[in-house]
Amino acid sequence: MTKSRMVLFLLMVAVMTPSFAYAMSGRDVYDKVQEMRTRMLDRKTEAVMVLYDRGGGKRTRTLTEYCKSISLDAYKILLVFNSPPDLKGVGFLLHARTLADRDLWAYFPEYKRIRRIPTASQDDSFFGSDFSYDDFSGPPNLDDYSFKILRDETVDGKPCHVIEVAPKTPHKYTRYVAWVAKNLWITTKIEYYQEKELYRSGSFRDIRVIDGFPTPFEIEMENHKTRHRTELTIKTIRYGANFPDKLFTQRALERGGGQ
């Protein structure tokens, strides 16, 4: 290789390096995120949820979540509140036949009846928390969104892709921007916008690798309009639980899980 050819090669490398870095599209990144979320679906989680209102008041509740992956995009989730006493036994059961076809039921012990939560409500706040039903109900259907990589940034020392995600059909938010940790393929920060206005943001901290899965142990979501904030702290998490199907029935919902 002559000197001039060497210079040309180095120039080409220099010019093309950024292109290599962005060789992944936003959708590619989210495919990775989706793959990771799907793999993490077989699990049992014990968590504490604390809701802070604008006046500084806080409400604490503990919950247990059971997840079971059925196939690539089908899964079931059972979530049961353990405390406070007013909410003990209140539970939610989700059956996702595909990522776009989900059924959600709720159980309220004092009524002794199961209620179907309509799909239309699933975009809303998850019962007073700052999480949406979607946050709790597993991976979204990526075909319903468009993705664009905006830039790279480092969050809590982790290099991230900053990706803008816009729903193709009208949602409560018009777009969100997610910081996806490179190589871990989990979200470390997220911001939801209504038009240009930031209305909700979340951070995913204390990321530990459990059974080979990067798991944020502290999740915080804040509603900037209501100045309401929710913290979710994972106490224990166990992957590969392989729960039996009978745990994800309406009967089990009435019993409050119990595994």
Binding site: D86, L87, Y111, R113, P118, A120, S125, F127
Partner: protein, 854 residues
């Protein structure tokens, strides 16, 4: 000389000089317009309030499905949701509650599926504008309730506070889980609204598994009628699928029937005002006849003279009508609350928070004031144009008797009365035509006032005049001098008194008929209910469990406690009232052996008999006869009932069906009731038993425990409230009538200035002059009062037939003897008072000036 200059230089001068006459004319028209505007605005405000609340409650639902008032199975929702074209089918429970503490304010409690209902109604239940701190707790706890921010601010409530509410299950404690922003349903009923989750509402109000209504929204592009038909096909018979407009129309028609009577009175008030304008312009013509002659002599044309008077009238009427509009709005504002309360207690729950003003009624009032004034001024204005310069300058007395001859007026009277009968003949007693026919009749009779006054004076002259000396004879003579104008004053009194007697006769008959009917059906000594005892349509009643009768019967002194349920059902697309009571129990338990129940011959009401009685209104509306069969929708499907009889029942003007309560409970599965008819054992003191019931049951529930007499007094009070407008309008019409007499006598005194001067010159004393004028006034008042009383009796009977009998059933017309006596006393007394002002003027007449007066 152009008209503008005439108005500017001549009219303005007279308007300034004739302040008293102008004031009275303005007052007459002003009061008439006040009556029209206030009644129109109050009526419109009540309807608007109802529509607004209804629309807020209905949200964007295109259809509403209702069944029996007792509720229907919630499984029906799925059937509706599965219908093609239906986007959302959301369940609703609608019930009344009453805050136990504080002001005991009643409220509408809406039980909705809060997870879906936002798709149909616009709440701030979720989302950033809401203040529901813990929605999961709200859904998880059956005591959760959301109240409006308006109610919280008013009552001093806060989130997480417990409140006690009187419900069908007794007094229940709820916890406020959030506050609703003033949007959608939260703004209805003046903010007296609470929202519960549907399942919590079912538990709280004893409706487990049942709902009251389904609201349906349609998918985009779907045809309303196609979907409506598809839903009807999918549902069992007996469900009513209607558009919100259809449902509001039913209630609006119901309220309109009640309101029509007031329109009649308000339009009569403006007619009385018309007579005042007629008199004021006539006086002006009398006063200015010389000036008219001069104007004519210097070249003013007849048309210009007429336009001069019409222009003056227009100016006066614009001022009077504008004042009337302003006063009408003020009066409406002060009466709307009371009127809304009556509507709310009697017909349908509504919360009128203020007047709703559109341009319509102020414009109607303004136009009515101006047009009637111009019509009233037309004849004297035309007469003025006929005054020849020579006769005016020679001071030939001005009289309209040549224009308005008794024959012409009588013919006019016959024409209007014939027109009135024609309207009755063609349209019967239906609302607006009845109004027009009655006004025609009143106008027609008023045309006979000159003839009547003539006859009245003849009678007076023959019987009384000589006994009253010269004053009596002079008064009789004077009244005949300008019969037409004096007859106008008599007509003003006639209208005032006829409205007073008609209104009193109607009120008296409605009260008498209703109380007599109550006497015939309420045979118990005590009536117990949880809401306003006079509410015939459950507007504010919180039902009680029917099995409470067992507990009531344990109270010492109680012989029997019969539940009485009143609930609405659909019959051929209309809402009718089902009235169910324990007919079979009464004869057995009676202590007098004859049966203190509703009626003695109720043996056909055997529980298995599927027999009903219908009200006369029901029979008339649906053309049903005794022995016919009617099919009624029940939650379990349609059931056929045989009509065993047609009875008088004024509970509901769209029709009442009476049946045995066991039959009702069996088919409707509704174990609630609105009230209990409690029979007291012989020898037991009613007061003691009532107090004991209150002591035992009044802790858990807010109860009205009334003796039969107290109950009837409550009904009487409610009826009084219903007719509050009648009383206000009576005052207005009588005031206008008084003004009419004053104006007429002023004209008479003015016209006779020289004659009075002559009488004074030949030795008549001031007090004698005074006495003559007052006597004339009293005679005119008595003539108007007598004719008005007769016309009022007829009009009252027509009102009863048109507004009560036609919608509720046969009723007896009670002659309002008291009111007639009052009418005569008032017409004589008020006329005497009205006559004092011109009498004083006549008595003070300066002899020299009077003799020089031309």
């Amino acid at each position: 000389m152009n008209l503008w200059n005439l108005l500017r230089y001549i009219s303005m001068k007279h308007l300034r000089l004739q302040k008293a006459q102008i004031f009275m004319a303005v007052a007459g028209i002003c009061l008439g317009v006040t009556a029209i505007v206030s009644i129109g605005v109050v009526n419109r405000s009540v309807i608007f309030s109802f529509q607004d609340s209804f629309n807020r409650m209905i949200g964007n639902a295109a259809l509403q499905i209702t069944g029996a008032q007792s509720g229907f199975p919630e499984s029906i929702i799925e059937k509706v949701q599965d219908v093609r074209g239906v986007q959302y089918a959301v369940p609703v429970i609608e019930t009344d509650g009453m805050l136990v503490d504080g002001k005991e304010r009643s409220m509408l409690i809406l039980g909705v599926d809060v997870l879906v209902d936002t798709q149909v109604r616009d709440y701030s239940l979720t989302g950033e504008s809401a203040d529901v701190p813990d929605p999961i707790l709200f859904l998880a706890k059956p005591d959760s309730i959301l109240i409006t921010k308006a109610m919280a601010d008013r009552e001093g409530f806060a989130i997480d506070q417990k409140i006690q509410v009187q419900t069908v299950e007794g007094i229940r404690t709820f916890r406020i889980r959030g506050l609703l922003n003033p949007e959608g349903p939260a703004k209805a009923m003046g903010g007296n609204v609470a929202v519960m989750d549907i399942y919590a509402a079912q538990m709280a109000f004893g409706k487990t598994g049942r709902i009251d209504r389904i609201d349906v929204s349609l998918r985009k592009g779907e045809n309303l009628e196609t979907v409506r038909q598809a839903i009807m096909d999918a549902l069992p018979k007996g469900y009513m699928v209607d558009t919100p407009a259809g449902r509001t129309r039913q209630v609006e028609n119901m309220i309109a029937k009640f309101q029509n009577g007031f329109d009649f009175i308000s339009y009569l008030a403006i007619l009385v005002g018309m007579y005042l304008i007629y008199n004021a312009v006539s006086i002006s013509v009398v006063h200015r006849r010389k000036e008219i002659g001069i104007l004519r002599a210097i070249g003013c044309r007849r048309k210009e003279i007429m336009l001069l008077f019409m222009g003056e009238t227009l100016m006066i009427s614009v001022i009077a009508s504008s004042l009337g509009v302003a006063l009408g709005l003020l009066l409406a504002n002060s009466l709307v609350g009371a009127f809304g309360k009556v509507i709310s207690e009697t017909f349908v729950r509504t919360s009128v928070t203020g007047i709703h003003v559109t341009w319509l009624y102020p414009a109607i009032g303004l136009l009515c004031g101006m047009i009637t004034s111009l019509i009233a001024a037309l004849f004297p204005a035309m007469s003025s144009s006929r005054i020849s310069p020579a006769s005016a300058i020679r001071s030939v007395p001005y009289t309209e008797d040549k224009i308005f001859t008794t024959l012409r007026l009588n013919l006019g009277g016959v024409f209007f009365i014939a027109l009135s009968f024609l309207l009755f003949h063609i349209y019967g007693f239906s609302g607006p035509y009845l109004l027009a026919a009655q006004i025609m009749l009143a106008v027609g009779i008023s045309f006979f006032t000159p003839a009547f006054l003539n006859g009245f004076v003849t009678l007076f002259n023959r019987v009384f005049a000589s006994r009253l000396g010269s004053a009596g004879r002079l008064a009789g003579l004077n009244l005949r001098k300008n019969l037409t104008r004096n007859a106008v004053a008599v007509a003003a009194v006639f209208f005032g008194i006829s409205v007073f007697v008609a209104s009193s006769g109607y009120v008296h008959s409605v009260k008498g008929t209703t109380l007599n009917w109550l006497d015939s059906i309420i045979k118990s000594e005590i009536i117990l209910s949880s809401g306003h005892p006079g509410s015939s349509t459950n507007a504010q009643i919180i039902p009680l469990p029917a099995n409470m009768s067992r507990e009531l019967e344990k109270v010492p002194g109680v012989l029997a406690a019969a539940p009485w349920r009143r609930a609405f059902t659909d019959y051929q697309g209309s809402k009718v009232l089902l009235s169910a009571s324990d007919y079979t129990q009464y004869p057995k338990r009676s202590h007098d052996g004859a049966g203190p129940g509703f009626m003695k011959n109720q043996t056909h009401f055997i529980p298995d008999g599927n027999r009903v009685e219908i009200s006369e209104a029901f029979a008339a509306i649906f053309s049903v006869k005794k022995g016919d069969e009617i099919s009624l929708p029940t939650p379990a499907g349609p059931v056929v009932f045989k009509v065993a009889g047609i009875v008088v029942d004024y509970s509901y003007d769209s029709g009442v069906i009476n049946m045995d309560i066991k039959t009702y409970q069996r088919y409707w599965g509704d174990m609630l009731c609105n009230s209990f008819l409690v029979h007291v054992e012989a020898g037991a003191k009613v007061g003691d038993v009532r107090d004991e019931i209150q002591r035992r049951f009044g802790v858990d529930r807010k109860l009205y425990v009334l003796s039969a007499l107290e109950f009837k007094n409550e009904i009487r009070k409610m009826l009084d409230d219903m007719f509050i407008f009648n009383y206000a309008l009576n005052v207005i019409t009588l005031t206008i009538a008084c003004l009419g007499i004053i104006v007429a006598l002023f004209a008479s005194v003015l016209e006779r200035t020289r004659e009075i001067g002559t009488l004074r010159a030949i030795g008549m004393l001031r007090r004698q002059i005074y006495g003559v004028v007052v006597l004339e006034s009293v005679l005119m008042g008595l003539a108007g009062g007598s004719l008005g009383s007769v016309a009022g009796i007829i009009s009252g009977w027509l009102n009863l037939e048109g507004f009560f009998v036609a919608s509720l059933g046969s009723a007896k017309y009670y002659l309002p003897f008291g009111a007639i006596l009052w009418a005569l006393l008032l017409s004589a007394g008020l006329s005497a008072l009205a006559g004092m002002i011109p009498a004083r003027r006549a008595a003070k007449t300066n002899i020299v000036e009077a003799l020089a007066y031309d």
